[in-house]
Amino acid sequence: MAAPTATVPSASVPSGTVPVRRTSARRRRTGLAAWGFALPFTVLFAVFMLVPVASSLYMAFTDMHGADLRTPLAVNFVGFDNFVEVLADPKFQQAAGNTLYFVGVAMPLTLAMALLLAVLLNSGLAWFRSVFRVGFYAPVVTSIVAVAVVWRFLLQPDFGLVNSLLGVIGIEGPRWLTDPVWAMPSLIMMATWRNVGYSMVILLAGLQGIPRDLYEASAIDGAGAVRQFRSITVPLLRPTLLFCAVITGIGYLQFFEEPFVMTQGGPLGATNSVAYEIFNQFGFGNYGLSAAMSYVLFIAIVILSYLQFRLLRTEK
């Protein structure tokens, strides 16, 4: 992907006739202009991205607290103490377990639902394709805080819509958000509802890229629908599925907003997540500890993405 450089305007001046001095002067001028273009981004990027990334590593190995906020360099190095403390903390362990529970259920559920919807919409049998597409995507653009208001009401145990509907068919619904067993499934349901449209749109684009002839040829060879799905759709959709799995996985591992606005991590820590715990420790002023936790989370994200690449990579 060699980006053609603008220093040799081959169309206008035959490069052989350009004196060396002029070329280097021109080079300097374009170099200056290029840095003029790059400068605003580069300065902000260095200050607000590179510095935080570097200092989060530094902080993870220090005992920095809220009191050191204005003197971040005058703190003690504590080696791996933060990491040892984090991993031994039962609250963190519970949060890690909850996060795995959430990712382990919500991610496959989201991807399966998205694939199902994309396949149905792409079947040519759907009547109002764009209406469905817009409708399924609408929750993606909504603010989590607004969504939380709506869902807290829908899941309200006494007069909420969900339990009222269940009541119609004679089922007494649980106290969704205050029952330690049901709180996490409630959040999984909500997260799936909010995120399925994103993967669906991407998978739909992927499906449209699969040549029709493949299906026709395999139908002539006697392949049934299930066989076609397994042997054509899934293999050819692998890169797209991988993309959706990685993006969804990264987002879900940072599971924070849903418990923050719906349950405050309760009941009894049942919906506390690693990201929420990072936020809590930050709130307590334990910055070093919080930075160490975010590194554990980052490593988990890297591992999950790697596993997904192994699992879903295109076979050669």
């Binding site: 607000f48 906020l69 079947s123 049998l125 399924f136 399925v196 759709t233 907003e257």
Partner: protein, 295 residues
């Protein structure tokens, strides 16, 4: 016939457009559309309920089954929200922050994207490698050190804290660079031969060529900023700087007696403008997302 129908069901690309395709009312297609309709109700229902409930009095909101059209139409929730809860201020904050972030980050991304794609300069490779390297760094990893940094720059509780960290968007840079690679060099050379300087070339030739990418990136950046929650929650502390999501979240978790009418009205104020923009530009947005993967 049956074979093609099932193969279509399981993921065949459709050839004909919606206009030319015949609408078939077979048992299979009816079943499929009913299933999709149930999904649609589950997907849009909660949002519809929110909008409708916001113009109902408190008692009617709790009624089951919910009324599709309010029996007692009322603006009370909104008047109270805007008069006593300072929502106009939060609304303006949200709009201003999102607009500044959008214009700034799209412009800066386009500028650096152009330099990375079409110009040669010392440090180009390193800069691009750093951008790519930070593409996947999750916000959760940088938010604590970012807070420490912003505190030491004395920017906590300022609008600058809400805007500056989002002006440098690695994904935007990556996207713009990819689009600008496709601009033919001959076009740029022609402009230069005609005596246009680099900046003139950029604003007159390059930017118009990348309009679709700019639009997509702009819409999605605006959405991200409008809905952003965690950073504004920690970066500003005084109520006059709150954005809408922060204000609604603090109001809804801070109250003992919940007034659903006020909450759904607040939620509607956040969601409805975005939904309208989304409906108007949906073709653009959906296309942009499926080609870029940007969320």
């Amino acid at each position: 016939m049956a074979a093609t129908a099932t193969s279509r069901m399981l993921g065949t690309a459709t050839t004909g457009t919606d206009v030319t395709r015949k609408r078939r009312f077979t048992p299979r297609s009816i079943l499929l559309n009913v299933a999709l309709l149930v999904g649609l109700v589950a997907s849009v229902g909660p949002l519809l309920w929110m909008v409708v409930s916001s113009v109902k009095p408190e008692g009617e909101i709790r009624q089951f089954p919910p009324t599709l059209f309010p029996e007692q139409f009322t603006w009370t929730n909104y008047t109270e929200l805007f008069a006593s809860l300072n929502f106009p201020r939060y609304f303006v904050n949200s709009v201003v922050v999102a607009l500044v972030v959008t214009v700034g980050s799209v412009l800066f991304s386009a500028m650096v994207g152009y330099a990375l794609a079409k110009l040669d300069f010392p440090g180009r490779r390193i800069l691009f490698a750093l951008v790519m390297g930070t593409l996947m760094v999750p916000g959760m990893v940088t938010f604590v050190p970012l807070f420490v940094l912003v505190a030491n720059l004395d920017l906590i509780n300022t609008y600058a804290a809400l805007v500056l960290p989002f002006l440098a968007a690695p994904f935007g840079v990556f996207l713009m660079r990819q689009f600008m690679l496709d601009i033919p060099d001959e076009l740029l050379d022609a402009a230069r031969v005609d005596g246009a300087g680099e900046f003139r070339t950029f604003f007159r030739i390059v930017l118009p060529q990348t309009k679709p990418a700019l639009a997509t990136l702009g819409i999605l950046t605006f959405l991200g900023s409008w809905n952003n929650f965690l950073w504004p929650l920690v970066a500003v502390q005084s109520a006059d700087k709150y954005t809408l999501p922060v204000a609604l979240a603090l109001y809804s978790t801070g109250q003992n007696t919940v007034q659903y009418g006020l909450l759904v009205a607040g939620a509607t104020v956040i969601v409805l403008p975005i939904l309208i923009v989304f409906l108007v530009l949906q073709r653009h947005i959906v296309q942009g997302i499926s080609t870029t993967g940007l969320k």
